[in-house]
């Protein structure tokens, strides 16, 4: 018990001595503290007083928002474009093939298919020189001439490469004097105008009746 009491007394004495123990402070230590405090103060000001102003700035929000939106859009575009990369490639290739096939192959085929049939009918009439009698389109005398002009115009517009040939075809139409020249040139016209649909048939028909009418007179 005596030891415990003595220990308690020692503890109380230590506490009383060390509780208010102080060490003298030098000027260097004070200056060091001021320097440290200045560093922290500037850092504190930078954080505490400038952050609210930055947060309140609307332009910064708009810029950052637009930037995020752009990034999101790019991301979405890349997401949707990556799986469908195969599809556009097939789409881009197949139509090109189709167009080339249609343009390059279908026209020659059409010309070969259509022109012989027209030629057959026309040549047969031209050789016999009885076209005016045999053709059923004699009643339509005025209309085919108009059709000729219109067709020639369309042909001139569409087929620029064949403009010279078309000019040659127009001149005989005006001078329907010789029968031998006209059908040959008309044959050329028909071969060139093969792209045009069945409207070629009435082109030749009205010219022959006029000639025949003159001869008969």
């Amino acid at each position: 018990m005596a030891e415990l009491d003595e220990n308690k007394k020692i503890e109380e004495h230590i506490r009383s001595v060390l509780k208010d123990f102080t060490v003298s402070v030098t000027e260097d230590q004070k200056n060091f503290l001021f320097q440290k405090y200045d560093q922290i103060k500037t850092h504190h000001k930078n954080i505490q007083f400038h952050l609210p102003e930055i947060i309140k700035n609307k332009t910064l929000w708009i810029i950052s928002g637009s930037f995020v939106l752009i990034i999101l859009l790019i991301y979405i575009v890349t997401l949707y474009s990556s799986p469908s990369n195969d599809e556009p490639s097939t789409q881009s290739i197949s139509p090109s093939v189709d167009t080339t096939n249609n343009q390059s192959i279908s026209h020659p085929i059409d010309t070969t298919k259509h022109t012989p049939s027209h030629r057959d009918t026309i040549t047969s009439t031209s050789k016999t020189n009885t076209i005016s009698i045999t053709t059923p389109s004699q009643t339509n005398i005025t209309s085919p001439t108009n059709n000729n002009k219109e067709l020639n115009k369309t042909i001139n517009a569409t087929n620029t490469d064949n403009s010279k040939k078309l000019d040659t075809t127009i001149s005989p139409q005006k001078s329907n004097i010789s029968n031998d020249i006209v059908p040959k040139k008309k044959k050329k016209k028909r071969t060139q105008e093969s792209n045009v649909e069945d409207q070629n048939l009435p082109v030749l028909e009205p010219k022959t009746p006029e000639f025949n009418t003159k001869e008969e007179e």
Binding site: I10, V17, F21
Partner: protein, 185 residues
């Protein structure tokens, strides 16, 4: 009854005005430096940690918006917590287990030749030297509990240890310190 000094936080934030800081240093830094001498193992470490923790404590107090004032007791308490945590961070690898062994025979021998008031002749620096003989954790716990009068719960929170082990460490630190003092006498 000594008047408890109070400090307004706004005074510290005035631009290019060190009057508040100068006042705080004049009032509290000597005391804080004495506390650091008790907790640290050397005077050099005490000087280094006291300046560091003094500014850190002030920064932490100013960072809190409320209350707008703080008194000297709050400041000193925060300073002690800061210095304890700093020391423990520096000595993370050290075991909490007691490594200071004072033989019971020495204690008995000291008692045989001791005077009843022998400890009163010792200076504060002598007591600090005895404290520094303890291991780091015992030194900290003894300072916290016996001198600065922290509760066991607070100490357990600061050291991040169980309260029961804190109690055991306090008893061991007491025994070792008094034995160390008696052994010299």
């Amino acid at each position: 009854m000594s008047i408890i000094r109070e400090y307004h936080k706004q005074d510290f934030l005035v631009h290019k005005d060190h009057s508040a800081l100068s006042r705080l240093i004049d009032d509290q830094y000597a005391k804080c430096l004495g506390i650091a001498y008790r907790y640290c193992k050397s005077d050099e470490q005490a000087n280094e940690l006291s300046s560091q923790c003094f500014i850190t404590t002030l920064k932490n107090l100013l960072a809190e918006e409320e209350p707008e004032e703080f008194d000297e007791n709050t400041f000193v308490r925060q300073f002690i917590i800061c210095i304890v945590k700093t020391i423990l961070d520096q000595r993370k690898g050290e075991l909490i287990a007691d490594t200071t062994i004072v033989a019971s025979l020495k204690k008995n021998e000291a008692n045989l030749f001791s005077d009843s008031d022998y400890y009163k002749t010792l200076s504060p620096q002598d007591f600090i030297q005895h404290l520094r003989k303890l291991n780091t954790v015992q030194q900290i716990i003894y300072n916290l509990y016996c001198i600065d009068q922290f509760t066991i719960k607070d100490i357990a929170n600061i050291i991040q240890h169980h309260e029961l082990s804190i109690k055991a460490l306090i008893e061991r630190a007491r025994f070792n310190l008094i034995s160390s003092i008696k052994s010299i006498v």
